[in-house]
């Protein structure tokens, strides 16, 4: 089942997702130890290739790599030849020549993770490409839902907000569907892709109607520039119609969990008080992110034997 890359949800499929979710349970245990570190990837080298600014995703990956004792090298925008105009190909070939087992890449252009194997033998992990995919976000979201609700299959998941520009939404639609969830997308017509018939999802422009029986309400970040680009008349109007106001949050069924991939625009897509509610699991998503990314790195770079031995030796 083990593939070479995690570029998109389709590199994993349902079996791959399930394998990573069960590996994640193991790393949850590792992370709860007094010294949450195993030598599972000792001697392995991972390069961070971040062409877009990222704090949370990168820190999450770095933490995951450290807990697995992997070495890493950093080729991020602000600190490397990238901003001296070096081409993607040259950068990738340079990293490869230094010796690297995996490249974690984020890029503003769709498809970059799929181009890299032309220039490197390393495993590719997509940390977000354009508005296309962000598979590790979906994996951590699946893990969070599974931990909170016991299962993903049969659950009604409402994804609300700027679907059109969202790589999180694109990966989540594929992952949630693979895991058997029922998906409703809620957004104004301007913030939906022109053709949604390619996904087996329900489309709605009515947030209140859609969330009445939702199991998961997944709010997407609303970029502040969208107002200038005339996708919505004003952020105020957007918040009224599509934001998770405190009122709406209080009307949610008791079991419904509230998720957000961060960073949040408090007061726009999510009211300032909402993340503090008991059913908001935004910080769980963040801590699960480290665990799931440990599982992803181990899934691609580790071997089962190391894990069980190391697990024993650390107890």
């Amino acid at each position: 089942m083990k593939g070479k890359h995690v570029r998109g949800v389709s590199d994993l499929g349902k079996d791959g997702i399930q394998e990573i979710l069960s590996l994640s349970d193991h790393f949850l245990e590792v992370s709860s130890r007094r010294i949450p570190k195993v030598p599972a990837l000792r001697g392995r080298t991972i390069a961070w290739l971040f062409y877009e600014n990222s704090t949370r995703t990168r820190l999450s990956f770095e933490t995951a790599a450290k807990r697995l004792s992997a070495d890493s090298m950093n080729f991020s925008v602000s600190s490397s030849s990238i901003n001296k105009g070096e081409s993607l190909r040259d950068t990738v070939e340079t990293i490869t020549a230094m010796g690297v087992d995996a490249i974690v890449v984020r890029h503003s252009s769709t498809g970059v993770p799929w181009l890299l194997p032309k220039w490197t033998d390393a495993s590719i992990i997509n940390a977000g490409d354009g508005a296309h995919e962000h598979p590790t976000q979906s994996l951590l979201d699946c893990y969070t839902i599974k931990k909170q609700l016991g299962d993903i299959e049969g659950k009604k998941i409402v994804i609300a907000g700027d679907i059109k520009h969202s790589r999180v939404a694109r990966s989540n639609i594929l992952a949630f569907k693979a895991m058997g969830a029922e998906i409703v997308l809620v957004a104004p017509r301007t913030l939906l892709p022109v053709d949604t018939s390619l996904w087996p999802v329900e489309i709605s422009q009515d947030l209140d109607g859609s969330i009445a029986d939702a199991d998961v309400l997944y709010m997407l970040r609303m970029q502040l520039e969208r107002q200038k680009e005339a996708f919505v008349p004003s952020l105020r109007e957007y918040t009224n119609d599509y934001g998770l106001t405190l009122e709406r949050a209080k009307k949610l069924p008791k079991h419904t969990i509230i998720m957000h991939p961060g960073p949040m625009n408090r007061g726009v897509e999510i009211a300032s008080e909402v993340p503090e509610l008991d059913n908001a699991v935004v910080t769980n998503q963040v801590s699960n992110g480290v665990i799931v990314r440990m599982a992803v790195l181990y899934f691609l770079l580790g071997s089962g034997a190391e894990l069980s031995e190391d697990g024993n030796s650390n107890e």
Partner: protein, 430 residues
């Protein structure tokens, strides 16, 4: 006695099809047509088609200004290998050709070409759409075409003025319709694939709207207008209507728009990034039908070479463009289920008229005409390999595709510039 004889071929021209040899004289003109001709040099073209040379209404050479991408010399090596004997050079990929000095220098550069080069001036200064370029000064140098290959944001008014003002010069105005008011940042066709990939799309209605207003203004002003690289079949219908109402509007289609689909973008390879973008299968089918029915005037390559390293960039960062000369014939034969005469009408006869070159190109193959001829084997199959092409760029949207139909010899003004697919390195003759 003739200097060269093309022996044993099938001549296909406007008058039909016949088996005959063609003799070319020292003055570069056809001297005789008939059986059993002989000459100092005989080229055996048995089983092949001899036609008038192809004429490309839409080619970019990037010179002067961006010689890294292409020059007239490299670009026309590729053109003649593809069977073209005349090309119309667009004003926009090197220094913008918007004044007499630039036009003069480009005309001089055209002399390094291996085939006839017509040059197009810009319609507005810097192609900015604000101030009309000195059309009259350029026309005085012999410029008979003006083009705005990426019409975007020009007001109706400035287009009207350019159409009105240029009338007395007897020139043709060429417009591309893919610059988009509806999607200024569009990277590919808007639809299922763009939705799935999260790439901003260009709706096909964008072209329709541009074509509609160009047709209206052409009708209003009586200007001679040529619309470039139609990708949306609906636009062809709008143009046909305008033609029926008396507008002097013609149009062209590029091979990839009747051959390839947007699904190729799923590879994320920037070689599939072209403008207008690759369309859906449904569109491609409809476009083939319209070409077959004779609703389109010309096939033009839109040859727009990009430096190879730029095409290795991520899709959203790479420039638009593909090379096109050497695949035009093969794509036309492979993807259009049309008789050869219909294909030659689109590649040679009709574009020669639109370019104003009907005295020297296209048309009938008769004694006395200049020897601008192409010989090709319509049955020959081959696989496209960009690195083997003669353009400086090897980024072809047709990479790896098997085609039927390959040019073997090309004669420009009676000189054999291509023999058996090889460029003849005698001094550029023009």
């Amino acid at each position: 006695m003739s200097k060269i004889v093309l022996k044993g071929g099938v001549i296909v021209d406007k008058t039909g099809e016949r088996h005959a040899d063609i003799g070319i004289g020292d003055d570069g003109r056809i001297t005789e047509i008939g059986e059993g001709l002989s000459a100092q040099k005989t080229i055996d073209v048995t089983g092949q088609i001899v036609s008038s040379g192809f004429v490309d209404l839409n080619a970019h050479f990037s010179q002067p200004g961006n010689e890294k991408a292409e020059t007239f010399e490299t670009g026309t090596r590729s053109a003649v290998k593809g069977g073209f004997t005349a090309v119309l050079a667009m004003p926009d990929t090197g220094n913008i050709n918007d004044d007499a000095d630039t036009a003069r220098s480009i005309l001089r550069l055209g002399e390094t070409a291996l085939c006839h080069v017509e040059i197009a001036g810009a319609i507005t200064m810097g192609n900015q759409g604000e101030q009309i370029a000195p059309l009259s000064e350029m026309a005085a140098l012999g410029v008979r075409h003006f083009a705005d290959p990426l019409i975007a944001g020009e007001s109706d008014l400035i287009i009207r003025r350019a159409m009105e003002y240029s009338q007395r010069l007897g020139v043709t105005l060429h417009f591309g319709c893919s610059g988009g008011g509806l999607s200024p940042e569009g990277q590919m066709n808007e639809g299922t694939t763009s939705s799935r990939l999260g790439i901003s799309g260009i709706p096909k209605e964008n072209e329709e709207i541009e074509v509609f207003r160009l047709c209206s203004l052409a009708k209003m002003t009586g200007a001679r207008v040529h619309i470039q690289q139609i990708a949306n079949p609906q636009s062809v219908k709008l143009i046909a209507e305008a033609q029926a109402e008396g507008a002097k509007v013609t149009c062209e289609v590029s091979p990839h728009h009747f051959a390839l689909t947007e699904v190729l973008v799923e590879s994320f390879e920037a070689r599939y990034k072209v403008l207008p973008p690759l369309m859906t299968q449904e569109n491609v089918n409809e476009m083939q039908k319209l070409l077959h029915e004779g609703k389109v005037d010309a096939i033009a390559t839109g040859h727009r070479p990009c430096e190879n390293h730029l095409k290795e960039q991520p899709f959203q960062e790479a420039p638009f463009g593909t090379i096109g000369f050497e695949t035009a014939l093969g794509a036309s034969i492979t993807y259009l289920n049309s008789p050869l005469s219909a294909i030659l009408n689109l590649l040679s006869w009709r574009p020669a008229e639109i370019a104003g070159l009907e005295d020297t190109h296209g048309g009938e193959i008769v004694a006395g005409r200049p020897g601008n001829l192409t010989v090709f084997d319509p049955q020959k199959t081959w696989v496209v390999n960009g690195t083997e092409m003669l353009s400086k760029s090897s980024s072809s949207v047709f990479e790896g595709i098997q085609m039927k139909g390959l040019v073997s010899h090309t004669l420009v003004d009676g000189e054999l510039v291509v023999i058996d697919g090889e460029i003849q390195n005698n001094e550029s003759k023009r």
